[in-house]
């Protein structure tokens, strides 16, 4: 009996260890695959072609700049919507709302997070886009703004959920200390609770924005997919084509091993590097704030 238990333990520890390492392995394998399929782009086509402003792959125009700016403008728009709204909701749920309100709000937000993005895209296409067209008097409602609003909606539950947990984890003694010093509720939230939970909130924002930049189905349905270089703020009100939508729309029909195929994987590589960049930047900020907090506490 004892022996078999040990044998079980041995297997289970190894399994847990392996699943821990597997994340690293998977990321490495994905990156390896992307590089292997994406790097031949530089053999097939020139850098000047990649940096041109025309994306029309069936006639050998492979300028990825419009796609890059399209993704950026939609993501920035989504961030502008989701960050204030998400953090506000998290603060309200965690700090202000009475208990019964909290019990209702939290599951509702989580339900919102579970909505399939294609459903949101469908609603956006049939309801939000026509509304924005008439409300803002635009030529068409299929714009970067529509995508931003919906992506914001997709990112909000992630941000709320993580940020609320972080705010909740701030020890009650912090708040009581602030109140004892005569701080108002707002001062306590803004000067004490919020800074104490900063790293958790930042993680939430990062995860939310990460979801927004990688989101495909919704943006493909509502942004119009016109590969126009977005150079100014006004581009928010015109159609754009994002990197994810391009891959999704074109990968199905592309001949394996063709230039177009390699360029699509190259776009995937760029996406991967962007999310890696966002992650590294965010964790370095989290790391720095932690050190500062430790210094203050010591």
């Amino acid at each position: 009996m004892e022996k078999s238990l040990n044998w079980y333990e041995f297997v289970i520890t190894r399994l847990i260890k392996a699943s821990g390492y597997s994340a690293i392995l998977f990321v490495a394998l994905i990156f390896f695959f992307l590089v292997r399929e994406g790097l031949p782009t530089f053999v097939d086509t020139s850098l000047t072609s990649l940096l041109s402003i025309r994306w029309y792959p069936i006639e050998e125009h492979y300028g990825i700049l419009p796609l890059l700016t399209g993704s950026l403008i939609v993501t920035i728009g989504a961030g502008l919507v989701a960050v204030p709204f998400g953090i506000g909701t998290a603060v309200y749920i965690s700090e202000i709302a009475p208990r019964w309100m909290r019990e209702i709000l939290k599951p509702l937000v989580e339900l919102l997070g579970g909505l399939p993005s294609v459903v949101l895209g469908f609603l956006g296409f049939l309801v939000l886009a026509p509304f924005l067209r008439t409300f803002l008097n635009l030529p068409t409602g299929l714009t970067a703004l529509t995508g931003s609003l919906l992506l914001g909606g997709i990112a909000v539950p992630t941000i709320v959920s993580v940020a609320e947990d972080a705010l909740d984890a701030v020890p009650r003694a912090y708040r009581e200390g602030a109140w004892a010093l005569g701080a108002t509720r707002w001062q306590t939230i803004w000067r004490v609770t919020f800074p104490a939970a900063r790293s958790g909130i930042l993680t939430g924002v990062m995860l939310g924005v990460g979801r927004a930049i990688g989101e495909t189905m919704t943006v493909m349905m509502v942004t119009g997919n016109a590969p126009v270089l977005a150079t100014k703020l006004g581009s928010l009100f015109s159609p754009v084509r994002t990197m994810t939508a391009t891959i999704a729309a074109e990968m199905g029909e592309v001949a394996s091993g063709s230039t177009h195929y390699h360029v699509l994987f190259f776009i995937g590589m760029v996406l991967f590097l962007i999310s890696l960049g966002v992650n590294v930047a965010a964790s370095s900020v989290v790391f720095r704030t932690k050190k500062r907090a430790e210094r203050i506490l010591s």
Binding site: R54, Y56, P57, I58, E59, H61, P66, F125, L126, A129, P130, R133, P139, T140, G141, L142, M220, M221, G224, N225, A226, P227, V228, S238, P239, R241, A249, E250, G252, E253, V254
Partner: protein, 296 residues
């Protein structure tokens, strides 16, 4: 442990079910038709093949796309029984075929017409082919330039991987001139589906789009098109497509090596029969109804 056993048993049953299925169809298939070519036709050919196989379980039909050129090349090399093409066979392809001892025979199996559609609120109801070309290439960006209200034009198109997109580019934007390198205006909205185009036009009076004639719902307005300036404006319909007066239409072909015989002949005869031509209409093409069926 019990669960594991159940899982294993289940998967064995599933595997057995799968393999028994495939062997069954393999063993009963007596005749085999290889069908390859145009990506425009591939869905239609697949639908036909599926229907035909379910009615005639002894026949197996394999359908692949790859493009009209690929299909005809395979016919010339003798690797397929039927080649699908959305264009007529070229003279050099006939020459190649003859030197290979292959005699390509043409069968018109359906017609493909593209309707240009706008919102019913739009006062424009007729355009010349050249005007549509200028609209899509970006030379015309306001409806007032073609006799409509002062509204911006929102151009809608299918994604670049759609056969309809390429056909529209070649026939309308470039007016059939293969030297022409005109492209779609950069701000053309590329929508992933026909439904997307229809839904956007339904609610947006600025929009113009195109789609297979069979897909256009009744509540949208089709544009009457004149092939040349001063020519007659013709609305797309099954009649105008079949009498060739509508400009954006083409025949869809199947080619066989010599007059078809045996099982291939039966299949092609079935394709031109009303039952199969109904599927043509369902998939948004125009039935080749007025074509006299090939002499028996």
């Amino acid at each position: 442990m019990n669960r594991l056993i159940i899982l294993i048993v289940l998967s064995i049953i599933l595997l057995a079910a799968c393999s028994s299925n495939t062997t069954e169809t393999n063993s009963t298939a007596a005749a085999y038709i290889e069908n390859k070519g145009s990506d425009t036709i591939v869905n239609l050919a697949l639908a036909w093949a599926e229907k035909y196989q379910s009615d005639h379980p002894e026949v197996r039909i394999s359908v692949t796309g790859g493009g009209s050129g690929t299909g005809i090349a395979s016919l010339v090399n003798g690797t397929v029984d039927i080649a699908n093409a959305s264009r007529q066979i070229k003279n050099e392809e006939i020459k190649n075929a003859k030197s290979n001892g292959v005699e390509p025979v043409e069968h018109i199996i359906a017609r493909d017409a593209i309707a240009v559609i706008v919102n019913p609120e739009n006062s424009v109801s007729q355009l010349t082919l050249k005007q549509i070309s200028d609209i899509y290439s970006g030379k015309i960006s306001n409806w007032s330039e073609v006799g409509g209200e002062d509204r911006p034009i929102v151009r809608l198109s299918r994604e670049t991987n759609s056969g309809t997109h390429v056909y529209f580019l070649e026939t309308v934007l470039r007016l059939g001139n293969s030297e022409d390198k005109t492209l779609f205006s950069m701000d053309t909205l590329l929508l992933p589906s026909s439904e997307g185009i229809i839904a956007e036009i339904r609610q947006n009076p600025n929009a113009i789009g195109y789609d297979g004639l069979g897909y256009v719902p009744k509540d949208l307005k089709m544009i009457a098109i004149a092939a040349e300036e001063g020519g007659a404006y013709v609305l797309p319909s099954i009649a105008t497509v079949n009498d060739k007066s509508y400009a954006i239409a083409r025949d869809l072909y199947m080619y066989t090596d010599g007059e078809p015989t045996g099982i291939v002949k039966e299949y092609l005869t079935w394709i031109l029969a009303p039952e199969a031509q109904e599927i043509v209409a369902e998939l948004g093409f125009v039935p080749a109804a007025l074509t006299p069926s090939p002499s028996p």
